[in-house]
Symmetry: C2
Subunit: 595 residues, 2 copies
């Protein structure tokens, strides 16, 4: 019995159009092509590739892993062919600018595809995912020449990209970077240093690999304000844009990891490598943040993907596996035992995963559409509003979704019992692969600090208000609707906790930043839970109006999942509130030597 | 930077003697040798072997795994030598009856050693662990001849044992067993069938392997009441107890798993194997339960071990890793950044693991001592009391401790950031190894059903009262003590929630068993949290009296960890209570086809 995967196209359409009104994006200049029919056709095509090509390579890729020999990395069998198909199908250029050969689709359309690819093959999806990040950074901060040279290759997929931030002595704290960039007479830089944890840092899928490298110039101020961003290709580029000689970039090793074994995680050495400044001197962090923010929403999507893959695998097993009788008497007396889906606790596990999965799809699609609004809406007010909201919720999407993704992957294993621990079934790989998403792109603890330390206080709480106001309005409007009561009341209660906690953290954190730090992770979790409650209440509203129509089952399931969410998952906010309000004392009043 | 391990001997002594009064065990007939000096010397010796022999083999064993070729299983390099040392040091016979060569130590003494072995090498510890289970089953239900033949070999460690329950079509539901036992004329049985997931089912550590096999006789009633237990040795035993020809037992394959790679998980085929009935015909489940109950406390200990190993690894890293400044200003201005142990959220993670680790050590040692009281106390009232309490808390220890063990292992990885994902550091192995303990010996969901479905209602709630009364008395007595207030108040609040939830489940579950099933997992978690709160309040009381003495730091750390537990972990009971009280409707009112 192995896992299964079917692209959740119906739910994607529900979220994207019925819930979020995604058809409005096609009205924005530059997104004219994104009419619903086109978008659905693209998703369908992507779903087919995910199901038929990516999914079968997931377990074989995990078992085989990447090979490293004499500085050369070979990806597992079938990855090159799958990558070529992915490029030919146009997915590498889907959201790229038509100027560079892209299809100009909204990022929110691409993110659904990212979900499907990640759900069927997390390791594979990272190769084009990192190129996408490099595209965004060069597009935002590169020179015209850089854009013209590199972006079309990224769109074709013939060249790929990386993000080179981490060094052995620095991860979170990029101010500690030691990699050096010495200016040369021709305007380029001599790059020297060692980077670690470089995903897709070396592989055999593309002709060239373009590293985006954070490094320090000799005249740089110390710390984070002295970091610049450089473009360092594996092969130098000739005048005619064809490949020249090998640059001073080499892969020193690949890491042996808990999961994502089919993605190469490399040590990359730069020895007098030729690099080119991207953006301004010493302003590398700003350029990098462009990449990091979209990468963080993408990472959140990997959490959602972990929910979805785990849900599908677990439901299939729960229907097939026959064990024990229902507590209320045999449901299938003709069989020797009942399928385990009759047991309340198995249902609790399945519905938990489902409620997180569909809720996260709603939350992240909402914010992805806001990012598109920010990018293309000509109205500066709407643009700013979208940016505020996306800034606020980016750390929540990254951390909350990857946390519940990992929890869901583990619930999926639990549904399988002992069989879940066996590699053959594929469920334990979901756990190992999902684990990385809580760690990379800024650990989830760092996301929580970003939320309480930066986003919360920004512009005197303006970001927060962008979220609080519509939720408040929704609650007030729906409070009067009797059939919405069961959804609105729990939302209102949890929302009030969130508001109180926000006020407390803002006030206490001013006096003592450790108070904010101590509350941060619990607060982010509460934020995610309340956002999902808001999404679920809105989804329930839509479903209530359609529950007697053609797709009665689909909408009834939505209503019931919303109800489950409110009763079984949202109450977590109660404990989180209590814990937050106990403050930082028990954490800080513990002498270092006592540990 | 790799993980570290130092046997937590001081804390073991604190729990075993200062908290639980373990010296009283030496007053029981049969435990006379268990005076504190002897016990401490044994722990010290075990700690040394754990630190110096088992710990270094943990990662190499994981990387190498077990080898399977032509039916033969080879354990990783060094395991045979380590096993021989373990036997020579007397640990295989530590708690065994002196009649069979054992040292007759209390089980609670052995369990501390099991913790150290599991914390340093989960895979290794399972080999002697399973023999210990087989010893208990034969000792309780075997014939005199069986005991005389097998038990001395188990004590020496020259033969080992297994538990053969699971088959492809049955795990939880042992009523579905198909393995057959046909009586032969000489009184032995012909065993035919296939068992899966047999830990230590085949290996190269011992001369013989003795399988305890559940099978069905031709005249057996259907289901669980027709199962008998058989002893099936790999090599037949000659009259003089030397090894005869190979029996019809073979290893068909070993599983490839998420973790515990150095322990062989085998498919065992029985083809006309000669087997001998243990205990009574069709009463195999009763005999097996003896094994399972002690195995469940042992599995809970593996959860505690996961907390301890993870704590030690994470603290070491948090002291050494330098990254970012403290939120309240540089703590080590002479360095480029502060060690991450200054950050509130890192402290939250470390203290969470610590509070679970020390709390679980207290809870499981308490119950282990009760098991010893049950076994040796001549007073039938005290004996029964001990059995009641142990029966009640066994599923809690198994499930709660393995759940928080897994959570702790993951927090340990999180403290390491991206480095936690890299195998070299050893932290991710703790996660993979800890995961199995939530699945085997009855999944944690099954433990929860055992608690609400069997233990709770047993003898009109007598088991529950064995726990509720002393907690109630403690609360009433300490409520008056001002310095205990901060510990007793939260305990009282959580305890009241537990009582209310118990009453609700008992009442509702009578009307509709799905109500009990729906609440079970949340209820067990709440039970574990309240038990730990009771332990922590008692530990705080002891520490308060000693905080100014010679070991001021040790006791102050206890008080502060107790405070942390009450403020930061115990509040989980609030959400659990809310969730329990919403009942089963959202779980059961979800059509099967909707999933």
């Amino acid at each position: 019995m192995a896992t299964v995967y079917k692209a959740p196209l119906r739910d994607m359409e529900f979220v994207y159009y019925e819930l979020l009104g995604g058809e409005k994006l096609a009205e924005l200049p530059g997104y004219e092509e994104a009419d619903p029919d086109t978008v659905k056709a693209i998703w369908e095509e992507a779903g087919k590739i995910a199901e038929e090509v990516m999914f079968p390579l997931n377990r074989t890729g995990d078992e085989e892993g990447c090979h490293f020999e004499n500085g050369v990395v070979r990806t597992p069998k079938g990855f090159k062919e799958a990558y070529d198909l992915y490029c030919e199908s146009g997915f590498t250029g889907l959201t790229a600018d038509p100027e560079y050969g892209g299809m100009g689709m909204p990022h929110s359309v691409g993110l659904m595809i990212a979900e499907m690819m990640s759900a069927t093959n997390h390791s594979f999806s990272m190769y084009p995912g990192l190129t996408h990040g490099a595209y965004n950074a060069i597009n935002a901060h590169g020179s015209e020449e850089q854009k013209n040279t590199y972006l079309p290759k990224f769109v074709e997929g013939t060249w790929s990209g990386t993000m080179c931030l981490t060094e052995p002595q620095c991860g979170t704290d990029l101010g500690l970077i030691r990699t050096k960039a010495d200016p040369k007479e021709d305007g380029s830089y001599n790059i020297n240093g060692t980077k670690i944890f470089i995903s897709a840092g070396e592989h055999d899928l593309t002709d060239n690999i373009v590293h985006l490298v954070l490094a320090r110039m000799p005249d740089a101020p110390p710390g984070i304000k002295g970091i610049s961003l450089f473009l360092v290709p594996k092969f130098l580029i000739k005048e005619d844009d064809s490949l020249g000689p090998r640059n001073g970039v080499s892969c020193g090793a690949i890491e042996h990891k808990m999961g994502i074994n089919a993605n190469s995680t490399c040590v990359i050495n730069f020895d007098d490598a030729e690099g080119y400044l991207i953006g301004k001197k010493h302003k590398g962090m700003e350029a990098m943040f462009v990449m990091m923010n979209s990468a963080r929403v993408g990472t959140g999507m990997q959490g959602l993907a972990a929910c979805e893959q785990s849900y599908q695998g677990a439901v299939e097993y729960a229907r097939e596996r026959v064990q024990m009788r229902s507590l209320t008497g045999a449901k299938h007396p003709e069989m020797k035992a009942d399928p385990i889906i009759v047991h309340p606790d198995v249902r609790r596990m399945l519905l938990t995963i489902r409620a997180y999965s569909e809720g996260c799809r709603a939350m992240s699609s909402w914010i992805a559409q806001e990012l598109d609004q920010h990018e293309k809406n000509p109205d500066p007010v709407r643009k700013q509003e979208a940016d505020d909201l996306a800034s606020l919720l980016t750390p929540v999407i990254k951390a909350f979704q990857t946390d519940v993704g990992f929890e869901s992957a583990n619930l999926g294993v639990q549904v399988y019992g002992g069989h879940g621990f066996i590699r053959e079934h594929g469920m334990e790989q979901y756990v190992r692969d999902a684990r990385i998403a809580q760690l990379y792109e800024g650990t989830n603890g760092i996301q929580a600090l970003d939320l309480v330390g930066r986003k919360m206080g920004m512009h005197m709480g303006r970001y927060l208000r962008r979220f609080f106001h519509p939720v408040q309005e929704f609650i007030e409007a729906e409070m009067e609707v009797p059939e919405m009561n069961e959804f609105v009341m729990p939302l209102a209660k949890a929302f009030s906790r969130l508001q109180q906690a926000s006020a407390w953290i803002a006030q206490e954190g001013m006096k003592n930043p450790d108070q904010a730090g101590a509350a941060s992770v619990d607060y982010l979790r509460m934020f995610g839970l309340v956002t999902l409650a808001y999404m679920w209440a809105r989804m329930a509203k839509i479903a209530l109006a359609k529950q007697d129509g053609d797709e009665a089952k689909f909408y009834q399931a939505k209503i019931k999942t919303a109800r489950f969410y409110m009763q079984k998952l949202l109450p977590q906010t109660g404990s989180l509130f209590s814990t937050i309000m106990t403050g930082s004392e028990t954490l800080m009043d513990f002498d270092e030597e006592f540990f």
